[in-house]
Symmetry: C2
Subunit: 307 residues, 2 copies
């Protein structure tokens, strides 16, 4: 019984109004795994890097209870590299460099030891690659969560629609929900997307929080109002990691429990943006996570008795 | 013991992607009074119109428990008129026409019968006019709420800062909070603005909800995700009306009760945007208001037990 995380493990170089980094470790699966590690100690990773990827970073993942047997290390090749620059409002960014490198022909292989997978988190990757992972599992997991992005909606929409039919929860941002559904209203967008296959849809609105929809219910979780957002990179993946990590821990996939999971996901995202890259997600303790979740409770809870 | 509402009563002509109106009744005090009327039957209005303002519209306000003794009707003059056109995203609009007319030399007069005022809602007006109202009250009300806008921050900042020292709650939108504080982060903006005088600050974020701050606490209320926003005109004033109406009804100005009041305000705003102008705010019943508030409860409430 375990959580399988599939996605990129990579190098990022980031520039924000607060400063810039050299190549630091990043990638969707890195953020997802680190965030999930505060909830479950049974995380299996499938990803690919080049032999330029530092052993210390792999050791860091291991220290966070991440099994790296499924992390392919390609001899003589280079890791995926992304570089971006955020604008002053932190809501928009320019991609400066994308070097696919090992990702160009990523063939995910799920090790035999991973095949008891109960929870599957498919980080943003080409939809056909995400589908290949599902195909390798002897039993359907209890819950499959898929993250994707506008790039695949524009370049490989058929593949994406095919893969969406297989998942329980889709996570996209508001812009992506509008592109995928061709609807401006997020309520209408959600109902259209839910007809494409996913039983649940999470629409991430960055600093404006997140919405969870199924066919009959809707839940809203705010983002924590922060003094400064230092670096938004990885916030969506940290959110997904906290979400699936909490569900893996509690093994309850009801809508009520997904609401709680979204609060834990939002808490992990709020940590992520406070420092560059993965810096803040490393070495948190349980008390800090609990206190942060309590801040969300205080932020939104109220008592109303309706006559 | 009563609620005093001061602000514009006016004509609007509105164009949205869904259609356009001829001159219909509008104005901050109109929306505030109508929204508040679902919570209290003791509303006193101070405003000014020309003799072009229809008697039926005044009768409509009276039907909503609004005392119009303080509504000045200027013979041979015309009512304030605003015309605007919303862009496709409904978040931005162009002002097409602003005719101040009677508003150009508005001298608010609080009738003697209004002077037991317990709750005072100062809708958006020139800050010196808002101040004149406070000066006419023999006793300081239990709560003074003031709404303002970027126009006064740019044209009469000193007057505004002077008036802000006298109020308990300031309501502005996110853009205005940033202009007034010169801070991008709303958390930093709030702390700066609270040092200018108001004990509480509400930052309205339109479709992204509203934040309530005092010096040590913060509360967030979402906007209801709607299939269509038909016409955003008056949403902020309907919010303020629901907020102060609920506080007037309950006579409890604690932070906990302001949280509830913000949910009721958000509910009234969510009604307002569903039709053109004041159309939806007229003739709601208590059951509809209660059901709408229950939707907010369902939208955000969750149960988390922190170990």
């Amino acid at each position: 019984m375990s959580l399988l995380v599939v996605g990129t493990v990579a190098f990022d170089a980031i520039e924000t109004p607060f400063g810039k980094t050299d190549k630091i470790i990043g990638g969707a699966a890195t953020y997802i795994s680190l965030a999930a590690s505060y909830f479950t100690k049974n995380i299996n990773l499938v990803a690919v890097v080049g032999d330029d990827f530092p052993k210390e970073s792999i050791d860091l993942l291991k220290k966070h209870h991440v099994n790296t047997e499924g992390l392919q290390i390609k001899k003589g090749e280079k890791s995926f590299f992304w570089s971006g620059k955020y604008h002053n409002d932190m809501n928009t960014r320019d991609t400066l460099i994308t070097e696919l490198n090992v990702l160009a022909d990523f063939n995910p292989i799920v090790p035999a030891s991973y095949k008891d997978c109960e929870f599957l988190m498919l980080g943003n990757l080409q939809p056909s690659v995400q589908k290949q992972v599902i195909a390798q599992l002897p039993q359907r997991p209890k819950l499959i969560v898929l993250d994707t992005m506008n790039f695949w909606m524009n370049s490989t929409l058929d593949e994406l629609l095919d893969t969406l039919k297989m998942v329980d929860v889709l996570t996209v941002n508001d812009e992506e929900a509008r592109i995928l559904s061709k609807e401006h209203s997020l309520v209408k967008a959600a109902q259209k997307i839910l007809k494409m296959g996913p039983k649940n849809l999470i629409i991430k609105k960055g600093e404006h929080g997140a919405l969870l929809f199924n066919k009959t219910q809707v839940f809203f979780a705010p983002a924590l109002p922060l003094e400064d957002v230092f670096d938004p990179t990885g916030a969506g993946d940290s959110f997904a990691g906290g979400f699936i990590g909490y569900l893996s821990k509690t093994k309850d996939t009801s809508f009520e429990n997904m609401k709680r999971a979204i609060i834990f996901g939002s808490a992990m995202a709020s940590f992520c943006v406070e420092k560059f890259g993965t810096e803040k997600l490393v070495g948190l303790n349980q008390k800090e996570v609990d206190n942060r979740v309590q801040e969300f409770v205080d932020l939104v809870q109220f008592e109303i008795e309706i006559d």
